[in-house]
Amino acid sequence: MSTAQPVATRRSVTGMSTGKLAVMWVIGSEIVIFGGILASYIMFRLQHDSWSHEAAHTNTVAGAVNTFVLLTSSLFIVLGHNAAENKDTKKAFKYIWLTILGALTFLVIKAFEWSGEISHGFTIKKSLFWSFYYTAAGVHAAHVIVGAIIMGIISLDVRKNKNLHRVELIGLYWHFVDIVWIFLFPLLYIAK
């Protein structure tokens, strides 16, 4: 089985690299998945005014810090992509791991936040608001974890100066995960 890349990958009829085209379609399919959850949440949220009292129990500070963390990790990955484009693999590697650090910080803050809320009795079964809260933030956290793992795998190649174009691909995915959080934060935490 020839391990060489098929000719198919070297063609670019659309003028865009195949990897980037694929990631754009991945982001397209993710938009409708998160869209499904958020549309359902917004429908219920607009129906029940009482939910703003329940939303008051969410830890807005943790949410805000997490927004800052994701925003900064978005900066790191785009700087990493910029470094990869200039073939500066050492800097690219550094920025990738800074982004992964950002992801871990996000997850640690979320872990503390959730354990605090659960200990106060706001579990996923408490009420429909909390069910949506944990489902939406949970699916988003899963995407953060998957993104961090893929970034780790890509960083191995980057250190060996291979597949530098993949930094941009994972960067696109990461920016999307950040955009989802940009909408999740006001929806879950702020709308009081």
């Binding site: 098929p6 990958t9 659309t14 085209l21 409708v32 998945i33 499904g36 359902s40 996923i124």
Partner: protein, 562 residues
């Protein structure tokens, strides 16, 4: 489970496991999808057999199955629907034909992501295993209809299949993941790796349809994946997304499901339309009538398919005013579909038709699909849907669309591309027997069911003797006649299966281009080696240049310069 068959000799030898189970060759992955899809299709057919035997002879022991209790009946009906759509129609129509034809027809050696392609089949195989496992868990298989409406599907106290329901849902979710991976691979390969010179309108129609189907699937499955997550939480942790007692709303699931459900039926329709376009133009030796018209009609159908979904819910408790909106869009979508049928008929005008088995199946697809499409208007119009909803009229309607798509259309494709896939021709005599047997039996099943549906037979009723008005002599005779025709349709698949597996070794050796067709897959050898083409072809003209005046041959392959 993959059956040994002609393997390509002249490329370096791989181990049996590496070549058949761990291959990243798009043709091998296509065959894996094809065999798994056909195996699951036979299982779905067997469920339909047991289901119909119980309807025709209530309470009696069904040979090869046993007594069909109410619980088993619901599980049979649910999983017949689920398997036939998700594990037979989609894998065979989109994954098998898509994987096989896209690289070959755009003149390239493989998909852009071979390993993701292999992964998509593995996730699909896992989903099939999880679904089969859901039959053997305590409580039995899930029995809440393939639409899995909560609260029945969400609360084990109601569906009495705690494990079955969750495993069914996980299997369907895994199948979605498999087709998302596959879809992204198809679309990216299609967009980026076309042969030089192949402009937008030089692409064969079957590829356009498979790509539009993949885009429709990807854009519509998202909300249902979100819904599946919410339903899984409802099932496992009794959360209240769809439980009115906890503030949830069952109608939300119906919308999430059908927002995906209706584009889904166009996801399976379009590839079948594409296959039929290829087969008809080759055996009629005639240019496809109005390529651009067909292309824009397909795109129009795809776009409109996103605004019609609530016609499945006219009387399901949505606001009656919404029904007026959706009945308009539903009846409007009959226009592009009608346009497609007119164009296919127009292609036969002044043609020179050779009645090979593939052509017979393609023509039968059109004839049967006319009836399927036309009976859809009764259900799209809100007024008449009040009566017909959830009766056997609906069942007969969607079998008149699904069977032409998933069985007759697929057979046209198999008989047509079999020489390319396996290097040998299928036997035409056996093909004709299989054709007439299948098509006649199929009509004998569902024409009577239109009548029993109009007479008030509800869906998913395991014993019509409980309802005095449907327990009449005439109606039970119709149901028995439909069941016997169904058994005969299943039996007529035996000549096909024999022909399919025996011809791999004993069929007449087929050259590169047995049907004298124009598209690029006929430039490669039969079966094409790994890497498909010795040197990758270029394209100089559209795909359907048949019977061009002033040329000796009546076909003009895309890759020939002059």
């Amino acid at each position: 489970m993959t059956i040994d068959h002609a393997h390509d000799t002249h490329h370096h030898e791989e181990g049996f496991f590496k070549k058949y189970f761990w291959s990243t060759d798009h043709k091998m992955i296509a065959k894996q999808y094809l065999f798994t899809g056909m195996f699951m299709g036979l299982m779905g057919g067997f469920f339909a057999y047991a289901l119909r035997m119980q309807q025709a002879f209530p309470g009696k022991t069904v040979p090869l199955y046993g007594v069909v209790t109410p619980t088993l009946y619901n599980a049979l009906a649910t999983n017949h629907g689920t398997i036939m759509i998700f594990w037979f129609a989609m894998p065979v129509l989109i994954a098998a034909f898509g994987n096989y034809l896209i690289p070959l027809m755009i003149g390239v050696d493989d998909m852009v992501f071979p390993r993701i392609n292999r992964l998509s089949y593995q996730v699909f195989l896992l989903s099939a295993i999880v679904l089969i496992a859901s039959f053997f868990v305590p409580g039995g298989a899930f029995g809440g209809a393939w639409t899995a409406y909560p609260p029945l599907s969400a609360n084990a106290n109601y569906n009495l299949t705690p494990w079955g329901a969750s495993l069914w849902l996980v299997a369907v979710a895994l199948e979605f993941v498999a087709f998302l991976l596959g879809g992204i691979n198809f679309i990216t390969t299609f967009m980026n790796s076309r042969a030089p010179g192949m402009k937008m309108f030089d692409i064969p129609m079957v590829l356009w349809t498979i790509i539009i189907a993949s885009i429709l699937f990807m854009a519509s499955v998202g909300p249902l994946i979100a819904g599946a997550i919410m339903l899984l939480f409802d099932q496992t942790m009794s959360i209240g997304f769809f439980d009115p007692a906890k503030g949830g709303d069952p109608v939300l699931w119906q919308h999430l499901f059908w927002f995906f459900g209706h584009p889904e039926v166009y996801v399976v329709l379009l590839p079948a339309m594409g296959i039929v376009a290829e087969v008809i133009t080759v055996f009629a030796r005639k240019k496809l009538f109005g390529y651009k018209t067909v292309f824009y009609t397909m795109v129009g159908t795809g776009a409109l398919s996103f605004v019609v979904w609530a016609h499945h819910q006219f009387i399901a408790g949505i606001d009656p005013r919404m029904a007026n909106l959706f009945t308009i869009t539903t009846v409007l979508i009959s226009i592009p579909i009608a346009e497609m049928c007119f164009v296919y008929i127009a292609t036969l005008y002044k043609a020179s038709i050779e009645f090979s088995t593939a052509m017979l199946f393609a023509l039968a697809f059109l004839a049967e699909f006319f009836i399927g499409g036309v009976t859809g208007i009764f259900l799209g119009a809100s007024g008449s849907d009040i009566y017909f909803h959830d009766t056997y009229f609906v069942v007969a309607h969607f079998h008149y669309t699904f069977v032409p798509i998933a069985i007759i259309g697929v057979m046209a494709g198999l008989y047509f591309w079999y020489p390319k896939m396996f290097g040998r021709m299928m036997d035409e005599k056996l093909g004709k027997i299989h054709f007439w047997g299948t098509v006649i039996s199929f009509n004998c099943i569902f024409i009577p069911l239109f009548y029993t549906g109009a007479a008030g037979d509800q869906r998913r009723i395991y014993n019509y003797q409980n309802f005095p008005h449907t327990n009449t002599e005439f109606l039970s005779d119709l149901r028995t006649f439909a069941t016997i025709s169904m058994v005969s349709m299943l039996l007529f698949q035996i000549p096909f299966l024999y022909n399919f597996f025996v011809s791999m070794k004993k069929g007449k050796v087929a050259g590169k281009n047995p049907w004298k067709s124009n598209t690029l897959e006929w430039v490669a050898d039969s079966p094409p080696p790994h890497g498909n083409f010795k040197e990758l072809p270029e394209v100089y003209r559209p795909p359907y240049e048949y019977s061009v005046p002033g040329r000796a041959q009546d076909y003009w392959p895309q890759n020939e310069k002059a």
